[in-house]
């Protein structure tokens, strides 16, 4: 039970990092200016790097479990690898939050999505580094340095755009309208998270929320933006119920490995 939850939890964290990393990579070659194109591509690479560590760990856990129950490995079934987890799972297997799979929209929406998620990841990884699972703690400790920069970079852009021109302010408000209702899921624990919080392995999201809200309020005040009321929040991603955007992302990301399995170049 705990092993299953740990696998789900690790996949959830990996999927978050991979899906947002992939979304950001869609900007590569299309950034508003060369320097920011590079900046966002760097963030994409950081996130995909985190995803790799997490998928490698998840693959190890999955293969160990299959070895425990010899019969569960169906004939022809192969070992899980970081690549098989990224490229051979379907939409309903993905456990990422709805926020990270949203399409890029304009630069403002991409920035706000990054800011919301980086602020979450910043506090999240700090706490995960203190939790009992040593592998996850080590990945968190390594990643928090990268995320500190993502948070700094995205915060400054939120302030720049929110407090910029009339048009940039309007676009940030449009982005806020689209993304705010997806932020609640970050702090709504799934079944596997509840199991692991009790074991001292998962981060307690309820305790995380005030830290996130404080940071968002600080940045929004400087940006001249106002947080909407909490209101109705859309959830489901952590349990595999996704918005319509994830399928398109996976179709593009997985195409090559689906069409030519195990192809290398």
């Amino acid at each position: 039970m705990i092993k299953d939850s740990l696998i789900d939890y690790t996949l959830h964290l990996a999927d978050n990092a991979l899906v947002l990393g992939h979304r950001n990579s869609e900007w590569t070659g299309h950034g508003p200016i060369l320097e920011q194109d590079i900046a966002l591509s760097n963030i994409a690479l950081d996130l995909i790097g985190q995803a790799r560590y997490l998928y490698q760990y998840a693959a190890r856990l999955l293969n160990d479990r299959a070895a425990d129950r010899v019969t569960s490995l169906a004939p022809g079934a192969r070992e899980a690898t970081e690549d098989s987890l990224a490229y051979h799972r379907d939409g309903w297997d993905f456990k990422n939050c709805l926020l990270v799979e949203q399409n890029n929209g304009d630069w403002g929406k991409t920035i706000l999505r990054q800011f919301f998620f980086s602020a979450y990841q910043y506090f999240f990884y700090q706490q995960l580094a203190e939790r009992k699972d040593r592998e996850l703690a080590a990945i968190a400790e390594k990643s928090v340095k990268e995320v500190s920069y993502h948070l700094r970079w995205s915060s400054e852009w939120v302030i720049r755009l929110g407090d910029g021109t009339e048009e940039s302010h309007r676009r940030m408000n449009d982005a806020l309208d689209q993304l705010w209702r997806l932020t609640g899921e970050l702090f709504t624990p799934s079944s596997y998270e509840k199991t692991l919080v009790a074991e001292g392995i998962a981060v307690d999201l309820v305790a995380l929320q005030p830290l996130w809200e404080q940071r968002v309020a600080d940045v929004f005040r400087q940006a001249g933006l106002t947080e909407p009321a909490r209101g109705w929040q859309q959830t489901g991603g952590k349990e595999g119920k996704h918005t319509e955007h994830l399928g398109y992302l996976l179709a593009e990301m997985q195409f090559l490995q689906r069409a030519y399995p195990d192809n290398e170049w």
Binding site: I33, L34, E35, I38, A39, N42, E156
Partner: protein, 100 residues
């Protein structure tokens, strides 16, 4: 001049200087566009320190860099050509002195 240095979004050009881990001085590595000094430093971090090149970044808006005129190179530098006595090569060094 001012206009040429700004890109189409009106962001000015900045000259970037990086000090490497082993280096004692900041070296000019290139230039980039940014809206202000803070953004220039972050852009420099992203563009020029991706492969662990640096431990310190300086940025200077390009318009504040004044350069010598290439047309004046002859009058600036050539007169030094035939003045060998400006080099300390006419001293006899005592044998005890090493590493010179």
């Amino acid at each position: 001049m001012e206009k040429n240095q700004n890109n189409e979004r009106g962001w000015p050009l900045w000259e970037i200087f990086i000090r490497s881990k082993q280096g004692l001085d900041h070296k000019h590595v290139g230039s980039l566009h940014a809206a202000d000094a803070a953004m220039a430093i972050e852009n420099a971090r992203d563009v020029y320190t991706r492969r662990m090149e640096g431990v310190s970044i300086w940025v200077v808006e390009s318009k504040y860099v004044h350069a010598s005129n290439p047309d004046e190179a002859a009058s600036f530098y050539d007169p030094a050509n035939d003045k060998v006595y400006r080099h300390p090569t006419f001293y006899d060094l005592p044998d005890e002195l090493k590493h010179m």
